[in-house]
Amino acid sequence: MASSSASLKRREQPMSREGDQLIVTPLGAGNEVGRSCVYMSFRGKTILFDCGINPAYSGMAALPYFDEIDPSTIDVLLITHFHLDHAASLPYFLEKTTFKGRVFMTHATKAIYKLLLTDYVKVSKVSVEDMLFDEHDINKSMDKIEVIDFHQTVEVNGIKFWCYTAGHVLGAAMFMVDIAGVRILYTGDYSREEDRHLRAAELPQFSPDICIIESTSGVQLHQSRHIREKRFTDVIHSTVAQGGRVLIPAFALGRAQELLLILDEYWANHPDLHNIPIYYASPLAKKCMAVYQTYILSMNDRIRNQFANSNPFVFKHISALNSIDDFRDVGPCVVMASPGGLQSGFSRQLFDIWCSDKRNACIIPGYMVEGTLAKTIINEPKEVTLMNGLTAPLNMQVHYISFSAHADYAQTSTFLKELMPPNIILVHGEANEMMRLKQKLFTEFPDGNTRIMNPKNCESVELYFNSEKMAKTIGRLAEKTPDVGDSVSGILVKKGFTYQIMAPDDLHVFSQLSTATVTQRITIPFSGAFGVITHRLGKIFESVDSSTDEETGLPALKVHERVTVKQESEKHISLQWSSDPISDMVSDSIVALVLNISREVPKIIVEEEVAVKSEEENGKKVEKVIYALLVSLFGDVKLGENGKLVITVDGNVAHLDKETGKVEGEHEGLKERVRVAFHRIQSAVKPIPLSAE
């Protein structure tokens, strides 16, 4: 399906661009809300953002499409915040797959993650086969999770990343990833509005090349916070004043804390309400209070100032409930209970009891995932199905007042306009909302320089980034800045995505590597006269300098400026040289020669004349070889005028000058081929120059 078509497309791309291809594939949250999981790879580095489940499903069905990827190839997994749809498949992914990369999240996220998932495992009543992981897996995953502080830059395998405050919930982060200079921003869930305890999402300092952004709210605009809060408190106030009960199904952590802060303050300001109890039915939230108190630095200044006097999270008018057994339904009250979607649990139990009484009210305080009862009742159906399977009339008032800290359209568009990313990828939104957002954003960025994409799950977005590799030439090599045409030779050191070129002598200065020289000294038994060696070496090697050793006064030779031959004693000579392939070869031949001398009685060979003659012969031989090789390559090769060779291939003719290597002819391709062939033949038949430097 989608992925196979993508892989087909990939094959069409020219090979050289392979390295420049950046792939973004949502494995979840593509055209849907829930199970956030976005895969990204570029230059052989692979990142996974978030690892959530779809709270509307259970078991394997709730997972993102992990089958589409090879978990063992992922370098880094970044979790934005602790919500189930962003973090809950993490224990599964860490413990039940081949994943072996590193996982990062913020301190607060990690602390709450454990509590939340442990609670999730306990609450979700599914069969053992459907259990994705158990408490043991969660505890094990804690050891693998590393923490990252806001703004702290971390580098893993050349992938640099850091995070910004995202608003939304405590510890929520937006991740900026930098791979080889290409920046990708993944917002996760974010909110640009400061509320009672959280800061607004920051605007990153740098503009990203790709922005993977949530689109939960689509093109909706949020009411201003004050109106929202007023509606909320008004509904509650009037309901309880008429003797009704208020049910607020809310997820245990995150927005619930904000609502509790509002309620506690409202009650404090309205003494007439003091006899009406507010219950908060979540033992989990109680446990998390320690976390909220500790990471006060992640919250806004308002709460930090309040903290100076008393802890705002110690509520004066709100009491905690552990279970429905402790709850006595005797009169008007306000109950906030989880789960937020009314799937099961305490909130559902209360809903079933209260839904038929029209004095009661239910306030849905935030975004609800498709398929949950809470989503259904927003449309105010006449009847609802109770947990026991019976149907009951829905008489209670249902209010939808969104406190979900997701950016609305105004925030999203300003955010994007400030950042001006050339590529926008929408995730985490329902298909229709996302489409509308896409259309509207198109009108906001009409210049056509901005690409907006909304891939479905497993559908890859492929982008190409110019792979200009930059290197820094440093040290001695850079003393003179070269002009066009000059050559630059040195050691290229690659670390992560940075390249440096340097002279070998500077290697230890600018990198952790070092060079070495290996000096070899070998002693050979030799009892003959040293003069014999001198003579014989002189015959074989072009350059043999005689000298005497300063210390011992014994004679020494330097062959080709490389190998020193010394007489050590009557019976030994020594060879000393600095290792490299040529010197090794020279020394080997010296060793062979010395051994030969020792073995046989020296013969006097006169070869002076032969040498002269052989030079001419050599010239002829070379020509023959060149001719033969050219024939074997091109077939039709004739000797032309001025000693030029005429090569004919498929009717195209090229003239080759053997002396200079120049090629003339009509056909460019043939010319080039002949030139290259001749060049190679020549370097093969001519002797290797010894003077390497």
Binding site: L297, K472, I491
Partner: protein, 739 residues
């Protein structure tokens, strides 16, 4: 040419004075730390006063007096106005340290170098960063990136990395490579080859650091020994730095042993300190944050330690042996001094020093060997005025107040004259019966005997007293009256109401008792008397300074191996020792500038940027070595569309180059490698490795140092002509890459 870097120390070189260094990077002046000592000697700050106004940014490394003590004074008196950068804990705990210093001082002297307000305003503008946050400076410092990294030593303590154009200047003082209870060790070792490293030689000569495990046992044994015989234990500590580690050790030990002896932590800000520290978990060691994440167990929820903020609480505590941690560590001021004087003459008591006292302080005197039998101490106390003095004071105050009021009214007159001068001509004169009002008016000033109401001053030029009249004109345009949109905006009041009244006090976070103490304005005076204190209690010193010792300093520097090294903050001997050591074995450029001596550590490094063309790169075969990959390139500079130089493959065959062996041979590893290949190896004398029967291998040349980063390695292999020789040579070659 590279980035220009100049270093000139302002304080704290060739001695243990507070730290303060000026580093100028391409003309942008950084002040690294802004310390003062416990004696608050303004003469130390003279060099700073000369340059204070030119400073563009201040970087603070640790939250103690030696690193940031002079900040309020410099901001107020010396014209320092640059933004200050620090981590959140350094900012918070530094602020508390300064409060404690001020309150301790104020209690015993007419301290007037700076006030609480000065401290507040100095710390108000601190820009808070997290560890490893790359902060890009703007404006004058465009292109400079600063980043604090973990230093160990104190909570939030940082080493600073300043980067410009890829060149790094690292400022690392008082770091600790060892992991402690509440802190992680420094990450200094992870920096490789910075252009400049500025570091201290403080502990260069101090080598016999005991193992932390033994030290802790000894520490706790010493304390419990004295407690068991009924003595008291005093630990003079700093306000919010090293004391945290001590608190944790004691807390942990007390819970294990179920001791019932009380522990008191007594500073003017102790409860605020611990409250803050509780929310700094993410800055602490891995084990602390892990224990919180898994069990929500905050290590600084101290169960055995009682936090006190004044001495009366301690005096009221039930009698019996106790442990008291009190500031200041120098015993020059603060509760520690008072307690010391009280306890010194009881031989059962123990004064346990956990750090070397600052030079010239009482603590240092007591730490000398042998300890003095008697010390002369000037004890000062602030007492409320009483009797005649109080009356005299009040009279003086009243007089001042009157003068002030008079001056104010005169000023007001002037203003009124000025502002209402032109008005009265147009207004109708109003006749007032002057006789009836005469008695009502007070005795101020002869000119306006006939004022009707307080605060109403008739214009002098008017014929008769009158109320000023202001014509309230509204601007009109074609749409009507011009309105101000702000008047119609609904303010965010309702929500913030709760918060507003909260943040009013000095810092928004000090408990009420402290605040009342600070804002105590009762008239008081300082009385001093000298007394001779017999020191019969035991004096013990243990090293809980949390700094790396000499050996680790050397190995750390060798590992970092900066291109240039600047040494600061140590005695002359220590500085000289480390300088010689570094010159010999680490790098050839070591500087130890004197006060106000500027050293230019601009790197002589040349560099230019090139683009690597795709064609070139497709032919390069990298070889992997550690975390980097290396290859030899022969290339030609070609043109690109832009101004960038581009490296392309050579048109003709490249001239052959001298082959290079790349790699780092460790004799120990090579030995193991050889023995795994079945070669008999052993170390012979002088670092030579004897392989097989005849062949020896040794490293020669000046590079005796480990790491081998100071130059190319020279390896000598020698032996007679035999098969072994060639075999071992092949093994040796296999350890290198030939480029």
């Amino acid at each position: 040419m590279g980035t220009s870097v100049q270093v000139s120390p302002l304080c704290g070189v060739y001695n243990e004075n507070p730290l303060s260094y000026l580093v100028s990077i391409d003309g942008f002046n950084f002040l690294l730390d802004c310390g003062w000592n416990d004696l608050f000697d303004p003469s130390l700050l003279e060099p700073l006063s000369r340059v204070a106004s030119t400073i563009d940014a201040v970087l603070l490394s640790h939250p103690d007096t030696l690193h940031l003590g002079a900040l309020p004074y410099a901001m107020k008196q010396l014209g320092l106005s640059a933004p200050v950068y620090a981590t959140e804990p350094v900012h918070r705990l530094g602020l508390l340290t300064m409060y404690d210093q001020y309150l301790s001082r104020k209690q015993v002297s007419d301290f007037d170098l700076f006030t609480l307000d000065d401290i507040d305003s100095a710390f108000q503008n601190v820009i808070r960063l997290t560890f490893s946050q790359n902060y890009h400076l703007s404006g004058k410092g465009e292109g400079i990136v600063i980043a604090p990294h973990v230093a160990g030593h104190m909570l939030g303590g940082s080493i600073w990395k300043i980067t410009k154009d890829g060149e790094e200047v690292v400022y690392a003082v008082d770091y600790n490579h060892r992991k402690e209870r509440h802190l992680n060790g420094t990450v200094l070792q992870s920096f490789v080859r910075p252009a400049v490293l500025i570091t201290d030689a403080y502990n260069a000569l101090y080598t016999n650091q005991t193992q932390s495990h033994h030290r802790d046992t000894e520490f706790l044994d010493t304390i419990s020994k004295h407690l068991e015989v009924g003595g008291n234990v005093l630990l003079p500590v700093d306000t919010a730095g090293r004391v945290l580690e001590l608190l944790l050790i004691l807390e942990q030990h007390w819970s294990q042993r179920a001791f019932s002896f009380p522990i008191y932590f007594l500073t003017y800000v102790s409860s605020s300190t611990i409250d803050y520290v509780k929310s700094f978990l993410e800055w602490m060691s891995d084990s602390i944050s892990k224990s919180f994440e898994t069990s929500r167990d905050n290590a600084f929820l101290l169960r055995h330690v009682t936090l006190l903020i004044n001495k009366t609480d301690l005096d009221n505590a039930p009698p019996g042996p106790k442990v008291v941690l009190a500031s200041m560590a120098s015993l020059e001021a603060g509760f520690a001094r008072d307690i010391f004087v009280e306890w010194a003459n009881d031989p059962r008591n123990l004064v346990l020093f956990t750090e070397t006292g600052q030079f010239g302080t009482l603590a240092r005197m007591l730490q000398s060997a042998p300890p003095p039998k008697f010390v002369k101490v000037t004890m000062s106390k602030r007492v409320p005025l009483a009797g005649e003095e109080l009356i005299a004071y009040e009279e003086e105050q009243n007089r001042l107040k009157r003068e002030e009021a008079l001056r104010a009214s005169l000023v007001k007159e002037e203003e009124t004259k000025a502002s209402h001068g032109p008005d009265e001509n147009s207004s109708e004169p109003m006749v007032v019966d002057t006789k009836t009002t005469h008695d009502v008016v007070g005795s101020h000033g002869p000119a306006y005997k006939d004022i009707l109401i307080d605060g109403f001053v008739p214009p002098s030029s008017s014929a008769a007293p009158m109320f000023p009249f202001y014509d309230n004109t509204a601007d009109w345009d074609e749409y009507g009256e011009v309105i101000n949109p702000d008047d119609y905006v609904i303010k965010d009041e309702d929500m913030d109401r709760g918060a507003m009244h909260a943040g009013g006090d000095v810092d928004g976070r000090l408990d009420e008792a402290t605040a009342s103490l600070m804002l105590d304005t009762r008239p008081s005076k300082v009385i001093s008397n000298e007394l001779i204190v017999t020191v019969s209690c035991s004096l013990v010193k243990m090293d809980y300074e949390g700094r790396s010792d000499g050996r680790s300093i050397k190995s750390t520097i060798a590992h970092v191996s900066p291109l240039k090294l600047v040494l600061v903050h140590a005695t002359a001997e220590a500085t000289e020792h480390l300088k010689q050591h570094s010159l010999n074995s680490i790098c050839p450029h070591v500087y130890a500038p004197k006060i106000e001596e500027t050293v230019d550590v601009t790197s002589d490094l040349c560099a230019y940027k090139v683009q690597l063309s795709e064609k070139l790169m497709s032919n390069v075969i990298f070889k992997k070595l550690g975390d980097s990959e290396v290859a030899w390139v022969d290339s030609e500079v070609g043109k690109t569309g832009s101004e960038m130089r581009c490296l392309q493959p050579m048109g003709s065959a490249a001239a052959p180059h001298k082959p290079v062996l790349v790699g780092d041979l460790k004799m120990q590893d090579f030995k193991q490698f050889l023995s795994s290949k079945g070669v008999q190896v052993e170390f012979a004398g002088g670092g030579a490795l004897r392989c097989g029967e005849y062949v020896t291998l040794r490293k020669v040349g000046p590079t005796g140092q480990k790491g081998g980063a100071s130059g190319p390695q020279q390896i000598l292999i020698e032996g007679p002509l035999c098969e072994d020789y060639y075999k071992i040579r092949d093994y040796l070659y296999s350890q290198f890459y030939l480029l």
